[in-house]
Symmetry: none
Subunit: 419 residues, 2 copies
């Protein structure tokens, strides 16, 4: 199966935005068993888009495009594809009604220009867009005049904004692919998510023991992100399920305590789930992470059942006033210290009557480090019913990576405590 991805957008070619579609779509497709063979990005220029689509249709069984379906003058994909395939555009009543409803429910007038998004090529399947106004479009190119052997291709056009594209892929495209382009043989993919262990150490632990599964066809992959390493196990063929299951058992034996979840589950979602199951509540006292833990936890639907409050106490005055940290402790040990982390966690727990309270105080950088406490130094505290513990970590990264890694360590400390 040959799969090609075309990303359109002048902002990509000018390097103004990062192409997150490539990774996200390649990842989703690979996990379904459709590995992308080639990805192309071109600007919002008619001739460039046309050439890219034409070339892809000449080679691939499946072509996915992103972008160019919106209402503005640089949104050309819909028109160009219709023209290239000799299809008329017709106004789709359901899409038009959706666009009107979309604006009316937001109490805004429908801009005339947005109605162009209701035009769809003849016989195309409309992919509903609950998060925006531009629908996705899917069509089988049959006969396929671009391919030497005339073999048909599927062409799927998705809108550019990630919050529209992602649910559309999951809800509409994945089921469509499994129906119209079923894979010849079984495909099983399993991702185990770990934290607190590096990529090379993970590989040292499991690489050898999994060698004979790899030789038998298991695809073993690692994906490292700040504070997280995913281990991916995939196999094709009739025996795929058994292979992946056995490999998972070995990985769990060797990496067990580091594995916090599977597939796409984030650590914050695990925390909300565990606390909800235990009917326990949480409070947060953040200094250098600046609300990043609170933000991650509140990204999880249902967080309000467990999170009572978070305090971002950047200043010493706020640490004293909101958390009851003693002036004397701050004077004697400094704001970035074990005793202050302890008092912050205990203060947050007491103030809110939560069962658990996490605290973080450290030096995110780029400035503020000293020889004794360099940039990256951070203390993580956890006050819980049976006492308080404080961990010292060292995360000498750029500011945003520091926040990501530190919040991961704090959430993991909580996870291991409540498990």
């Amino acid at each position: 199966m040959i799969v090609e991805l075309i990303n359109t957008g002048s902002e990509l070619m000018l390097g103004r935005v990062l192409n997150t579609h490539q990774q996200w779509l390649c990842r989703q497709l690979a996990d379904l068993g459709y590995v992308v063979t080639r990805q192309v990005a071109v600007s919002d220029t008619g001739s460039e888009i046309e050439q890219a689509v034409r070339e892809a249709l000449a080679r691939a069984d499946l072509v996915i495009t992103t972008g160019g379906l919106g209402p503005t003058s640089d949104d050309l994909t819909r028109d160009l594809v219709a023209q290239l395939l000799g299809k008329q555009l017709r106004e789709d009543a359901a899409v038009l009604a959706h666009i009107s409803h979309f604006f009316e429910s937001r109490r805004r007038a429908v801009p005339e220009r947005t109605k162009v998004q209701a035009l769809v090529p003849d016989r195309a399947t409309v992919l509903h867009n609950p998060h925006g106004t531009a629908p996705g479009l899917a069509m089988e190119v049959r006969p396929n005049p671009f391919r030497a052997d005339g073999k048909p291709s599927w062409l799927i056009m998705l809108p550019g904004p990630p919050r529209e594209l992602r649910p559309m892929f999951t809800d509409s495209v994945a089921p469509l692919l499994q129906r119209v382009l079923p894979l010849a043989s079984g495909f099983v993919c399993r991702t185990l998510r770990t934290t607190g262990i590096g990529e090379s150490v993970a590989q040292e632990k499991i690489g050898g023991p999994l060698q004979r599964w790899v030789e038998a066809g298991l695809d073993l992959g690692y994906c490292a992100r700040p504070g997280q390493v995913d281990v991916r196990l995939a196999a094709h063929g009739g025996d795929a399920e058994r292979q992946v299951r056995e490999a998972e058992t070995i990985v769990r034996e060797l990496l067990g305590p580091y594995i916090y979840g599977v597939e796409d589950e984030d650590l914050e979602a695990v925390i909300v789930r565990l606390l909800t199951e235990r009917k326990a509540t949480l409070a947060l006292a953040e200094s250098c992470t600046g609300g990043c833990i609170a933000n991650r936890v509140t990204n999880v639907p249902g967080a309000s059942a467990v999170l009572l409050a978070g305090m971002v106490t950047y200043s010493n005055a706020a640490k004293q006033k909101l958390l009851g940290v003693h002036a004397e402790t701050l004077d004697r040990h400094g704001a970035v210290s074990k005793p202050v982390a302890r008092e912050m966690a205990e203060g947050a727990r007491q103030q809110t009557q939560a069962d658990y309270a996490l605290s973080v105080t450290g030096i995110a950088g780029p400035s503020g480090g000293t020889p004794g406490k360099p940039v990256g130094t951070v203390f993580i505290g956890l006050a819980e019913p049976s006492g308080t513990l404080v961990e010292l970590q060292f995360n000498p990264y750029d500011r945003e990576t520091f926040k990501q890694v530190t919040t991961q360590q704090a959430l993991e400390l909580l996870r291991r405590t409540i498990l």
Copy 2:
């Protein structure tokens, strides 16, 4: 000038890593006036890489590849290109000495396999790699057998690791390009960042008035993200600077109040800059945004000079205890109401003695909505020296987009107030 970029790596096609080379190189090249026409990613497979290089050489004046120059079995680019162009590989004594020195200075033995990196195609220019062992390679393909008109192309091969590629581009590739492929004319690009206005409304306002500049060659582009629309103005030629300057004047006249920054500046960075200039301080009281405003503000280096504290008051008890919201106000109006937003902002200002305090209370969803206050309803309060204002907004999006758009509206309310 036709410029193409080829990124090689199976991990890209499986979606295991983000292709940061695309943005970084496209950006660097665009700022030098070389706009990338097409970017292609393929796996580390000989036939895929060869086809991509062959096709690019058939079209482009400049082809840049990334990856495939290392010592392992999946590093194929160097050998494939030499073969494709019919060039012998010769061992470069200087590169070999560099590799030996690289390992010796780290007190490690030179792995036999790394010496393959000293092989360079005949007559290629070697680009020194102070941060690794694989040199970059540059060569003029002249005559060019792949191009119908035989026009020569430049082919530049860069190593994959970003910390090797980036300094090599800046130190070696940029000067080389300016020498061997000088631009016939100038290139100017300007991005204006707006918030509070939709993409189609922005276009309705500026599309017509800019029409004659577009006809004269101005490249006008839009890039929409949650709560933000970027307007990009670019032009080539001797008159580029004047064209872009005049277009910017028109855009500023028509969209003035919506423009919060230029180029890569984020709204939170503008806020930290403005507050720092005014020696003013800020406090935050967040309910439904759950620390997202605090997290964004503290992503900005120097935020500690302006942000005194943030309170994430998810529960009613926390709103009362930490912010002094009255039980009676909560009972009478509900937590999502104008009076509660007002008391939250005023409470945060009073508690922290900050000059400004922002508050947010609303329903992020997916559950919790009522007919009178559907999911997406949000009140944003701002307490400032001369009084308190509260804005009602309606953001019926998924949870994370809701947070992004709402924090953007809150920061924008503050920006317009302190301007």
